[in-house]
Subunit: 245 residues, 4 copies
Amino acid sequence: MNITVWNEYHPKHQSGKTAKVYPNGLHNAIKDIFKDNPEINVRCATQEEPENGLPDKVLDETDVLIWWGHNWHENVLDSVVDRVCQRVLKGMGIIFLHSSHESKPFKKLMGTTCSLKWREDGGGERLWTINPSHPIAYGVPETFTLEQEEMYGEFFDVPTPDEIVFLGWFEGGEVFRSGITYRRGYGKIFYFQPGHETYPIFYDKTIQKIIYNAAMWASPSAPPRPTLGSTYTPKHERRKLFKWK
Amino acid sequence: MNITVWNEYHPKHQSGKTAKVYPNGLHNAIKDIFKDNPEINVRCATQEEPENGLPDKVLDETDVLIWWGHNWHENVLDSVVDRVCQRVLKGMGIIFLHSSHESKPFKKLMGTTCSLKWREDGGGERLWTINPSHPIAYGVPETFTLEQEEMYGEFFDVPTPDEIVFLGWFEGGEVFRSGITYRRGYGKIFYFQPGHETYPIFYDKTIQKIIYNAAMWASPSAPPRPTLGSTYTPKHERRKLFKWK
Amino acid sequence: MNITVWNEYHPKHQSGKTAKVYPNGLHNAIKDIFKDNPEINVRCATQEEPENGLPDKVLDETDVLIWWGHNWHENVLDSVVDRVCQRVLKGMGIIFLHSSHESKPFKKLMGTTCSLKWREDGGGERLWTINPSHPIAYGVPETFTLEQEEMYGEFFDVPTPDEIVFLGWFEGGEVFRSGITYRRGYGKIFYFQPGHETYPIFYDKTIQKIIYNAAMWASPSAPPRPTLGSTYTPKHERRKLFKWK
Amino acid sequence: MNITVWNEYHPKHQSGKTAKVYPNGLHNAIKDIFKDNPEINVRCATQEEPENGLPDKVLDETDVLIWWGHNWHENVLDSVVDRVCQRVLKGMGIIFLHSSHESKPFKKLMGTTCSLKWREDGGGERLWTINPSHPIAYGVPETFTLEQEEMYGEFFDVPTPDEIVFLGWFEGGEVFRSGITYRRGYGKIFYFQPGHETYPIFYDKTIQKIIYNAAMWASPSAPPRPTLGSTYTPKHERRKLFKWK
């Protein structure tokens, strides 16, 4: 199984507050989530690389793409956005983390503004598992707390999720659909709200378990490949289809 | 349109704390929600009456039943529970309020335990509208606060709702799917969490608007009445069905 | 209530087979569906007009837009597509008919290819109501037949519908999710499969009832208008929010 | 992993038409589906055994229960029905086949009549995969045909499924939601329509693949076990929960 972890990793993130928490970039912290499973190959890609690090060659070898972006969404090439969305519709799994709710591929796949409320004031978050039999919740406690996380609040302008796995609670009186799934084309999508770059979210064992589960859930198996477009079955063949004709 | 408001209205509720807040019983407070619409007839029924106040004659004249019960669910006759559930499956709308999540008809219609977390400590609740285009949310603000309400928290052991209209936030760090809809048979069901008997919840203008909207939404119109069971279409008739045969 | 019926109405449709069935264009046949309700104003707009007939002025006065297009989707200006999608996300209802599954606004709102199987061979369709308590099904029989209709078959590459109201059956052995709903932003969307231009589908009483119901269902009421973006509640104010703090 | 295949296996099925197709009972044909996987233990249980073959001891060792019943639903003890439903709500997976839509446990878990249309006339069925990325569809073709199967038609009076994986097409003009999933409590449920006892359905490779996939999908993992009921967090502890208080 091949996972690609994508991070905008802007030069400004390579020093300052973010670098203090994630000296090698948070993509490497996310990569480490999978290090104990020898059957999973993880590579990283970043926005500053040619074709934003996502040429066809990389996507050809990607079963699940994990996307983290925050402030430089506009720097992602539209050609790369189209390529990523096409791959998802053809079966590649994708996990959008935190501020990726405003990334171009997420908005294009959702068809809505994906806007929400937000506030960064050092407050924390409490998450609740409301879909306990979902594979993404395997081994996850019913509730867990993040000492500090950026607040994301409803109304979250996304399509009705196929499934809501986690709800988030914030000290300021906000709630959020913090872990939600979608099926689009032949691909699976998981959006997960935690992951602000100045907090050590991706070192949290429960967060790591959820991202690990989500990658397993999102990885493509052998879906049918419907034939689309014009179709013609001559009557005599239709007749043969069914014994009673 | 005919609405019946049902309240367990146990003698113990007819004095003490509940009676202080609802001197005539909370069923009458709920009844008043509809008093400005001359086209709506509202009657009340209570558990202590014969057949728990819900003989066939009453249900024959009920488009939407509003149910409030808390501590005496076991006193509802199984024959009445069966009758109410049958009516819902045949098209009667029903609104379950607050502790009715543990009423016999709600549990029978859901097929799950309908358990949840709860705490009564004088804390408040903040509700959020997450389905702004839903008829039950018409004219409801994006968020509103109840100064005091019993806490109901996830995990709420109900089937996946058809729609989630409201989420609840509680000061102790809990969240809840506070306003949810289901379709069962030809009937519509709305569960709404607020409504603890010792708080003046049913005098709140926003709560009143939601219950009013829910009754409009749940009222049956003219659904198709499918024929169920064995069906036989002779081949020559099937042939006639379609021009090309 | 203001409805705008949009039809690509290409010059090639203004003569030949389509014109035989719909001498004044099928937009006028659809417009007639509402003629008995004096409270509904219906206007028509067509692709050949400036701004494809949909300048802001028209959309300002549109509660529900009904869209029919088939062969000239590419002729719709991207600026018009963006404008229509923005309106839907802000609350305008929209009904996509038949081949509009491949229209630019539908694909943009769905985020998928919206591909399907199709065949035109003079065969018929049988539709089934599988959501009998849905407002769009009010007064619609459990099943009805269209003597001739273009076959549209699964797999239909759309997001999981919020609700499936009708399923379609075709003589060649195909099935289709023929009537489906979505909520996007503050707007409601209904996709309805029947409506091939060379058949008198829009004169069918049941089809007319469904389109009428769908327009009523999709028309915006008074949804909450969430405030999105950065939000800040000073701690002392949060404290005031809740009695117990 | 432990699977129990349950069959009503009435003496009347032990001779005559059914016995011709399934000489050892169809439970053994279903059991054989898993014979190539040494990590799966499959046992069979039948209605005529004490406690209908499902004492606590058997359910203690059951991860997924596969249920097939048709004409003797009433012979299942209510105590066994309660026991099975409780296990599902606590996490046991369950697969209901064909006429089990009218079995007591299915109706109790659904809360509806579970009625449908039916006809047995030697006609066939064509199934379509409409959820290609669902684990139950892995390796299943987009469409496949059963030469003979009892017709089950809409309206199918069940709750809105969490997911629809397969749709069925029948020669008489009927359609059906033939493969649907539900989550109830901590358990997963799959209902699959094919499987009439006088046809060799359970020898069909595609049917076998679907039942195998469904058992994998339904098997419980390590879901969180929420604490339900009264909960109390002293204010000073709540304060400690969150850094900023």
